[in-house]
């Protein structure tokens, strides 16, 4: 047991080093901002008191992640550490849980240590453990659930708690947890009590889904975010098009309908599932957008491909009783079948503990010197990620993780006594960044929106967002109006000035001279500050 501590220490170190990296994406900034509001004001960013369902750009959000984020902020304040610490801790505990689960399953110290070590160096787990997100808590609760399942007596209540928390973390849990419990029950032949518990869990899931359906627009939320494939007009068009081509060529309509019909959706779903089995995702590039992982890394360090293959061969050849691991992988990945042409990264991350165990089988078969070589190769790869790739990563994630926005918000904060207007395309949704990086006194003007589905805020504190259709006018005499304009709006003003539709003080005609220009990570100008000369109509 003592041997796990160096691995935990390594895992913790990798998760906490360079604490401010990576910079937040919109949703992560929203989690941080919301968490801060929840612990300081007992309200969310819209002014609702301790709500259970939250807003995001794409869907309703479940409550566990925001409250977890708030917990860290409660202890460490409104800092990078505060917003990230809960996930760092859970990310480290995932390593421990992997070790404990592997120990329970295989009763082998080396194997358990290798599994834990593999999890500790997985790039997306390192990455996601540093930012507020749903995947890390979901993986934590799932592993906890599995571990508790192996304990006796007192764990029954905890299993129920872990399961409920998993259900309240991410909608993927609604698909994954019950099949996992079924696999465990089938494998471990547990007590009747546990079977009863599993039944209760299933019933509580159904109840939860039922309650969710009571929320306005929940059917839209489910169909757009849980089963988006069935809304995919591209597939319907493709079916009609391919069928029509056959009919045009004289094929019988019946035959065409037999080949291309509603079942084609299932085929498309299966193909999307198959996409998730690509080895390139595991050892090549996992997520080049930089949302779920370092942009240029795989799910696991590259050298581990060798122990993975050896582990698979070993499992198939000699350890048939452990082959249940492979269907478990399918359970983790199967919700991908409901999506269209899209990699669902959290599902692959959820499958990491299973992969790590297979890799551990392979590592165990290697001789000591090769194990050491593998270790050094992993250390080398991770050092490259942190020390060589970092600036390239920041450039690559210039728009999804706009670190440069912080400077804009800090500048806005310095001008708090002014009336401030900011172009709404600073990012897809600037409010979370303003909320997290800035200090605004909020008057909870959105608190009447009880169930905000994909709701866009247009103002926060003294900052109002400028919409694309906004019109400008000169306001020479009017002071105290600061405009932070994107390229879109600055070009619009330039055109108005050129066509003399807009008249301002002669000395303030040229944008960017009188005010500041804020540059993004690629050194492109993103925001122009105009003071006291132009107003919104």
């Amino acid at each position: 047991m003592i041997k796990i501590f160096p691995i935990l220490l390594l895992g913790f170190f990798l998760r906490i080093i360079f604490i401010s990296y990576p910079p937040f994406s919109i949703e992560e900034a929203r989690f941080a901002f919301r968490g801060e509001r929840l612990v300081t004001e007992k309200k969310d960013e819209l002014g609702r008191t301790l709500p259970f369902v939250f807003n995001s750009l794409s869907d309703y959000q479940l409550p566990v992640t925001p409250y977890l984020t708030g917990l860290g902020i409660l202890v460490f304040g409104k800092t990078d550490l505060g917003a990230r610490i809960s996930f760092i801790v859970l990310g480290t505990l995932i390593i421990l849980l992997t070790y404990l689960v592997a120990k329970r399953l295989f009763n082998n110290e080396d194997l358990s240590l290798f599994s834990a070590a593999t999890i500790s160096v997985s790039p997306p787990l390192i990455y996601l453990s540093r930012i507020p997100n749903e995947t890390i808590p979901l993986l934590f609760f799932t592993l906890l659930l599995i571990y508790l399942f192996f304990l006796k007596g007192w764990s029954i209540f905890l299993i129920f708690v872990a399961l409920t928390l998993a259900f309240l973390t991410s909608k993927f849990a609604w698909f994954i947890e019950i099949p996992i419990m079924v696999i465990l029950i089938l494998r471990e032949k547990p007590s009747k009590l546990k079977i009863a518990l599993a039944t209760i869990s299933l019933v509580s899931l159904i109840a939860l889904i039922f309650l969710y359906y009571k929320i306005p627009q929940s059917d839209r939320s489910i169909s757009e975010n849980v089963f988006p494939l069935f809304n995919e007009i591209t597939v319907l068009n493709a079916i009609n098009r391919l069928r029509g081509q056959g009919i045009e060529q004289g094929m019988p309509v019946f035959f065409e309908s037999l080949l291309f019909n509603k079942l084609s959706f299932l085929v498309v779903g299966i193909v999307n599932f198959l996409k998730h089995l690509s080895p390139a995702l595991i050892f090549g590039y996992f997520d080049q957008t930089g949302i779920f992982n370092f942009s240029f890394s795989g799910l696991l360090p590259k050298i581990l491909i060798i122990p993975l293959i050896i582990g698979l061969v070993d499992l198939i050849k000699s350890k048939e009783k452990y082959l249940f691991l492979l269907p478990t992988l399918v359970v983790f990945l199967f919700p991908a079948i409901f999506f269209y042409n899209q990699i669902i990264h959290p599902l692959l991350i959820m499958s990491l503990p299973v992969l790590s165990i297979v890799i551990a089988f392979g590592l165990k078969r290697l001789n000591r010197s090769f194990q050491i070589l593998v270790f050094f190769m992993i250390v080398f790869e991770i050092m490259l990620i942190f020390f060589i790739n970092k600036s390239a990563e920041i450039k690559n994630t210039n728009l999804v993780r706009p670190i440069w926005v912080e400077a804009v918000v800090k500048d806005i904060n310095k001008n708090m006594d002014q009336r401030i207007y900011l172009s709404d395309n600073l990012t897809q949704d600037p409010i979370p960044f303003l909320g997290w990086y800035g200090y605004f006194s909020l008057d909870n003007e959105y608190s009447n929106i009880i169930f905000p589905y994909k709701f866009h805020q247009t103002m926060i504190g003294n900052v109002t967002l400028i919409a694309s259709e906004a019109e400008f006018k000169g306001c020479i005499d009017k002071k105290n109006s600061y405009l932070y304009l994107s390229q879109r709006d600055s070009l619009k003003i330039k055109e108005m000035l050129n066509s003399e539709k807009l008249k301002v003080d002669e000395n303030k005609k040229i944008l960017g001279v009188e005010g500041k220009i804020f540059y993004d990570s690629l050194q492109n100008p993103q925001i122009y500050l105009i003071k006291d000369s132009i107003c919104i109509k």
Binding site: T234, V235, N237, A238, I239, R241, L242, Q245, G246, Q249, M251, L259, F260, S264, V267, V268, I270, V271, N272, L274, K275, L277, S278, P279, A280, I282, F283, G284, Y285, F296, G298, K302, L312, V313, I316, K317, Y340, N341, L384, I388, N389, S391, A392, K395, N396
Partner: protein, 554 residues
């Protein structure tokens, strides 16, 4: 025993017939037009047969400049033999590909039987290859790789045979065929030696029989001697080097973009970053070739309809491939064969994994062939298990299996014969044939005929090989073409006889007299032309406009 032999022969014959049928059925009509690769090789083959030179006047070239893509020589020469024997037909160019594609079915039978010592499995493997989408698709489009795969499969089969029979004829002939296979396709020149070295390492204990060292060394010398001219061409000919460089992964613009992200690093770190990025990118590209959605569902790129596509293998084979791998891994006393099969797959994916295109299934056909063998193994073992079960279950499984396989094959056939022409006709330069025939019909009416091959359905690109189409469909004597063809001074300009192939600037060119202009709407929008001047409109297969023929009379 006799029944078994008869059954074997009859079944094998049926499978071969099936393979031949799928490769030759309506070969003249599908693909719907000769592609630029086909027309260039066909016209060069005729040129070689008639004059001993390609259309540019190169005597018996070892690499064909073609449309500046520098094609390997094997397929063109073998087509010229067919031309001498059969005469001039469009379908001629497809016959060698279809023949070699059919022969692969037989070769797979022989190799599988030799590896697994089971004729039933060997027949099933050859059946899987006979109905494999990638094998059928590439066999029907005059693809030179098929010849290489056939020769290579037989070559290794003979070497394996030698190991167990120790008869000199097998080793000599085996090495000879492997050397010949290297001439068919450039990537084979790398893959075959690599695979051969691994083969010799794997089977070193069985192969190196010191009592037979004379034939071992002589046959190896034969192989080396036969391969030497090829390596001489590759290493000394700047065209082949150019060809290799242009398709190598370093040409990938996304790799370039990734490298540029490190531009602000200090020089030492930048070098490390560049090397790291290149290695990572190559590993990612290589591993992408093993993605199941690509192999089983989307790899052949028949449509523009997202995931409703066709892969190099039937999607129904996926579970059998997984089961086949499982069986293969568990198979005892089979280590050498397993290693050879794995090496075949891992090395076979290298060319596709190291080129600039994200996926190039035409470079991986040998891998798909081997994957079919493994899927057949999975299917074979599955059927064996089912046949030990109750009768009712057997019937259900057999009926379901047959329905699923047939359904999947029908889906592929529909995609190939019906949807593919609609969706992708532009990528085989459709309707260049119709354009060429029309140009020749009007040959005598104009002083010059200008053709701008800049066209496309949703986005424009330059269609290559226009002079080959014009030359071939006008029955233009290659000897004359060798004298007449020249590169002009205009943008993308080449010309022969009355024909000029170049970019058209309609604002300027509309002043020309007694000229026939053939250009796409990308070059000449309809609203800029006097409608009366358009004497013909050419369409893509899906009836969208491809080109206008515009008559400029005095």
């Amino acid at each position: 025993m006799k029944t078994s032999l008869k059954a074997k022969i009859v079944l094998l014959a049926l499978v071969l017939l099936l393979g031949v049928f799928f490769r030759f059925y309506h070969l003249t009509f599908f693909p719907i037009q000769l592609s630029h690769d086909e027309i260039t090789q066909l016209y060069d083959a005729i040129s070689i047969a008639q004059t001993g030179k390609d259309i540019y006047g190169n005597f018996m070239p070892l690499i064909f400049p073609s449309v500046h893509d520098f094609k390997p020589p094997f397929y063109t020469y073998i087509t010229s033999l067919f031309y001498i024997t059969l005469g001039n037909y469009e379908v001629l160019i497809r016959i060698p590909g279809a023949i070699f594609g059919s022969l692969i079915v037989l070769a797979v039978y022989l190799l599988t039987n030799q590896l697994f010592k089971s004729w039933q499995l060997a027949i099933l493997a050859s059946l899987f290859v006979a109905i494999s989408p990638s094998e059928i698709f590439f066999s029907r489009k005059s693809f030179e790789n098929g010849a290489g795969i056939f020769l290579m499969t037989i070559g290794f089969y003979l070497l394996l045979k030698y190991i167990f029979k120790k008869e000199g004829k097998y080793i000599y002939f085996g090495y000879f065929l492997l050397a010949a296979a290297m001439y068919t396709y450039f990537s084979h020149a790398v893959i075959i030696p690599l695979l051969l070295v691994i083969f010799l390492i794997i089977y070193r204990n069985l192969f190196w029989d010191l009592t037979r060292k004379k034939e071992i060394f002589l046959s190896m010398a034969l192989f080396l001697t036969a391969s030497l001219p090829l390596f001489y061409i590759i290493l000394s000919n700047p065209d082949t080097r150019y060809r290799s460089q242009t398709v190598f992964i370093t040409q990938d613009r996304f790799l370039g973009e990734k490298k540029s992200l490190g531009d602000t690093l200090n020089p030492t770190f930048k070098d490390v970053y560049d090397a790291k990025t290149f290695i990572e990118y190559s590993i990612n590209r290589y591993l992408e070739q093993f993605s199941p959605d690509y192999i089983f569902a989307t790899g052949l790129d028949f449509t523009n309809q997202g995931l409703l596509e066709v892969g190099p293998l039937l999607i129904i084979e996926f579970p059998f491939l997984i089961y086949g791998i499982y069986i293969l891994v568990r198979k005892r006393n089979f280590t050498k064969e397993k290693m050879f099969i794995s090496s075949w797959i891992l090395i076979g994916m290298l060319p596709s994994g190291l080129t600039f295109e994200p996926n190039s299934p035409h470079r991986s056909v040998m891998v798909f062939t081997m994957l079919s063998v493994i899927a057949a193994l999975g299917f074979f073992e599955f059927v064996k298990r089912v046949f030990n079960k109750k009768r009712n279950l057997k019937i259900v499984v057999v009926v379901t299996g047959v329905v699923l396989f047939m359904g999947n094959f029908l889906y592929f056939a529909h995609m190939y014969f019906i949807n593919f022409p609609y969706e992708k006709s532009e990528y085989i330069q459709y309707p260049f044939k119709e354009v060429s025939l029309f140009a020749w019909e009007n040959y005598s009416r104009y002083d010059q005929i200008i053709f701008d091959p800049y066209f496309g359905e949703s986005a424009p690109f330059v269609g290559t090989g226009a002079h080959y189409y014009l030359g071939y469909y006008g029955n233009y004597p290659p000897e004359k073409m060798q004298k007449e063809y020249r590169v002009g001074e205009g943008r993308r300009e080449s010309r022969f006889d009355k024909f000029v192939i170049r970019a058209i600037d309609f604002g300027v060119d509309k002043q020309l007299k007694n000229t026939l202009l053939i250009a796409s709407p990308w070059v000449v929008p309809l609203d800029k032309i006097d409608k009366g001047d358009v004497i013909k409109t050419f369409y893509f297969y899906d009836r969208k406009t491809a080109f206008y023929a515009i008559s400029l009379k005095p």
